[in-house]
Symmetry: C2
Subunit: 499 residues, 2 copies
């Protein structure tokens, strides 16, 4: 065994992953629907090759050999070995039958979820969900390292180092803070006018505007591309091919404008990981939470900035070719930040969004570390919406059936969204100590912002853990205070609340 | 060994091929150019897996085992085994070093060809071409079965069963016939007016027209899609995902209109191979020549048909939104079929096109079975253009450097184009005995034409050889007479020559 052999094996694994990523991108953007069965077969075959290789002889040998001789590896080799070991230890002990059953169950559950949505009836999903939960509970002992609760094991799969102890505290603070802001907006605030937001703006007009904006923010189209899809995503095929996707609504420009700026944040992250990590597992995001911090930095921090919009509004008006000619900048800007409780997470505004996450977090905790019957979940869900958001779902579709995650057994994933949002605000605060962000966003040159993010986050890829990245970049551990400060600043301004 | 194991191995090979096809399609339609180096690595790796497997233990074992026990195979298994054996016998004896040298040489030659084109100087390509020829000559003994000449071995790679003896006779007849028609047009014909052909027609206008036309002809968009590219092609990923591509010129609608109708012909072939052959080497075209017969049937036979255009012209005018309002149908139709000698094969009209192929065929024969110095090729090329087409290239770019084929050692490929054209005319003649083609093309329902082609050609895929397909479909072997009759009919009509 030597480093070259080890790195070559990782390169081959990575090339299989790149291939799977292209096949996935293609199936979401262009593949004729009729081809999906054939595509499923091919993807299954290649994924099989990938997983076999991932726990194959070469990887095992490398782990054993370099355990005692880390000095024979370069920095990149050492980082890669660490990640490979983590991954290997997570999965190698899992009995093959269990893995197969788990995979079959999620696939079945996805179908059941779709059926349940179609019928608007949780009953069609219930049993498949119960099976997903049962199998996940069976897997937890194999995945467990030193976590203290079952749910911590799940959290760790998406956000290494995160615990329920930490999240309980952070989410409690966040929830109280948001409720206080909401209360203040309701009693002292002036609601923005939004009736012009649904004016028609063609796809071409929207595209002209937002592609220039994200290019200015630093998304490199020479190493990327933008396509249409149903469920938008970003995918880093490799260092020089990082694609984003969107959907368009000509009567709601906010969908694509904020969608693309969001995906471009993911894209900029992947485009700016140090290329030396390419072909190793370090050439990806540090975690779901950190990845989301970069997309939400773009979408919410930049996308809510008054100076940014003041600068962009004339260009936006130009692209809209007169449609918003009668709307003052002040009215336009305020309309973007209206807060209104919604039943559906992906339609939530940036103030109430974390409440949706906290509801899911609390239910997942109950499922894995508490006591709850599968039959009671819809009522539990609806009760929490009523308690936290003041509105109650009237059916399962706008209630418990809205998210795809549980059908795929992605338990523990939801908190990443809120973590990403808190990270984004904390990074914004730290960035603000070094850069005059408002001035930059009022100028023609946004590059210092991307440079700061690349220097503190992007370049490291997965070579550092989320908590270390946040500590190094901001000087402290995760702190929800920055998000609350930020929300107050934005929403009190928009709602004209005197603080 | 049993049939299921054999077919599973073929399925895995096919899935690797499907993957490579998607990667290739992607790199020609959407991939950011910056990503090409990474893509090259991934493609190389997967192609390596594919070729190893193709001559791997399972395939070898299947060939040996079923040699004596063909009765253990179903019809599909038997057909697949035959094709696998052919392929295996072609390649297994070739020394690995020779294959590596061959592959490296073509890769180098492609670069040299591009450089030579840039410099418009054959000198930059000469040595690489000589090396391609030398290595091909070294390979011929390994590839040889029972062919009588070197060049026959090469022809057989693209058109199984074809020989120089046959082609010499067919091409001689074709050449004489075309020269006679050309002579008659020059002396007795009235040239069509074409000055309106370059009127501006937007991509959207062209697209509206031609996508309806090819859908009506039978290209199934629910199992396909149309994308933009630089060098148009069709690719059958699998039975339910067959894609076509095009480029557009808003000042020359003929490029995309005839380009798409051509690629749709390839696409219809792939879409209509019997699905029972999927995942085996029988689920592809019978040969390059047969494939080209289907694309040229669409492009030239249908695309030159008076009744077809008479029916389509009002819709074409509607799509062009008034641009051709002042052009009578007669003038429009005649303009499409102007014949004019050109130096460049891909710009040739449908009358002189075969002469371009015959020139290349004669030169290739000289290279592999005669005597010719590598230095003399450009002069030889130019002399033949002067002799056959009456025009002489003034530089290498419009002469010997125009085609990519020799840089890739694709010697023996060119005749496929002319074979496809002759097959198309012969199939048209046979079809005409059963169907009232003009009436069908004047109607709203083109489906009988596709049905005939599917019944006689498409469905069989590669399960039958070209000569058998042509014999079964038309009742005789390849006969150039039908193409000459067809050319006379079309061109004498357009040039108003009394026969």
């Amino acid at each position: 065994m030597n480093e070259a052999t080890f790195l070559q094996e990782l390169k081959e694994l990575d090339m299989l992953q790149q291939t799977l990523a292209i096949l996935e991108w293609d199936s979401q953007t262009g593949m004729p629907e009729e081809g999906s069965e054939y595509r499923g077969e091919t993807t299954g075959y290649l994924a099989g090759l990938y997983f076999e290789k991932k726990i194959g002889a070469t990887i095992k040998e490398a782990i054993t050999y370099f355990e005692d001789k880390p000095e024979e590896l370069t920095e990149v080799g050492q980082v890669a070995l660490g990640l490979v070991k983590e991954e290997y230890e997570l999965n190698h002990a899992v009995p093959n039958e269990l893995m197969v059953a788990y995979s079959a169950a999620t696939s079945k559950a996805h179908g059941a979820w779709q059926k349940a949505r179609k019928e608007n009836d949780y009953a069609y999903f219930k049993e498949a969900l119960a099976e997903n939960i049962r199998l996940t509970k069976e897997l937890i002992p194999y995945w467990k390292k030193d976590e203290s609760t079952n749910y911590d094991v799940l959290l760790n799969q998406y956000e290494p180092g995160m615990t329920t102890a930490k999240l309980d505290q952070v989410f409690s603070e966040l929830r109280t803070g948001i409720m206080t802001i909401l209360e203040k907006l309701a009693t002292e605030g002036t609601e923005p006018v939004t009736d012009f937001l649904n004016r028609h703006m063609s796809k071409a007009q929207q595209k002209r505007f937002i592609t220039k904006v994200v290019a200015d923010l630093g998304y490199d189209f020479s190493r990327g591309r933008l396509d249409d899809t149903i469920h938008p995503f970003a995918t880093g095929i490799n260092h020089r091919d990082v694609r984003i996707t969107t959907r368009w609504n000509e009567n709601d420009f906010m969908m694509a404008v904020f969608g693309i700026i969001h995906e471009a944040g993911h894209g900029m992250y992947e485009q700016n990981i140090d290329e030396k990590y390419e072909y190793t597992p370090a050439h990806e995001g540090a975690s779901m939470g950190i990845h989301e911090s970069q997309s939400l930095f773009n979408e919410i921090i930049v996308g809510s900035n008054r100076a940014f919009w003041e600068k962009q509004y004339p260009f936006f008006q130009e692209c809209a070719e007169g449609t918003f000619a009668d709307i003052s900048f002040e009215d336009f800007y305020r309309s973007l930040k209206k807060s209104q409780a919604s039943l559906v997470r992906i339609e939530a505004d940036s103030l109430t969004y974390p409440l949706h996450i906290i509801i899911r977090y609390e239910i997942e905790k109950l499922i894995f570390d508490g006591e709850v019957s599968i039959d009671d979940l819809p009522t539990l869900w609806n009760d929490k919406y009523e308690e936290y958001l003041g509105i109650r779902p009237e059916d399962d579709l706008t209630g418990i059936l809205q998210d795809v995650h549980w059908s795929g057994s992605s338990f523990g994933y939801f908190p990443s969204y809120a973590l990403g949002y808190m990270y984004a605000a904390q990074l914004y605060h730290a960035m603000g100590k070094e850069l005059a962000i408002d001035e930059i966003l009022a100028s023609d040159d946004y590059s210092p912002i991307k440079r700061w993010s690349t220097e503190h986050i992007h370049q490291y890829g997965a070579s550092r853990k989320p908590n270390q990245l946040i500590m190094d970049a901001t000087g402290e551990a995760l702190n929800p205070k920055y998000l609350l400060d930020y929300m107050e600043k934005i929403y009190f301004d928009v709602y004209q609340v005197k603080n």
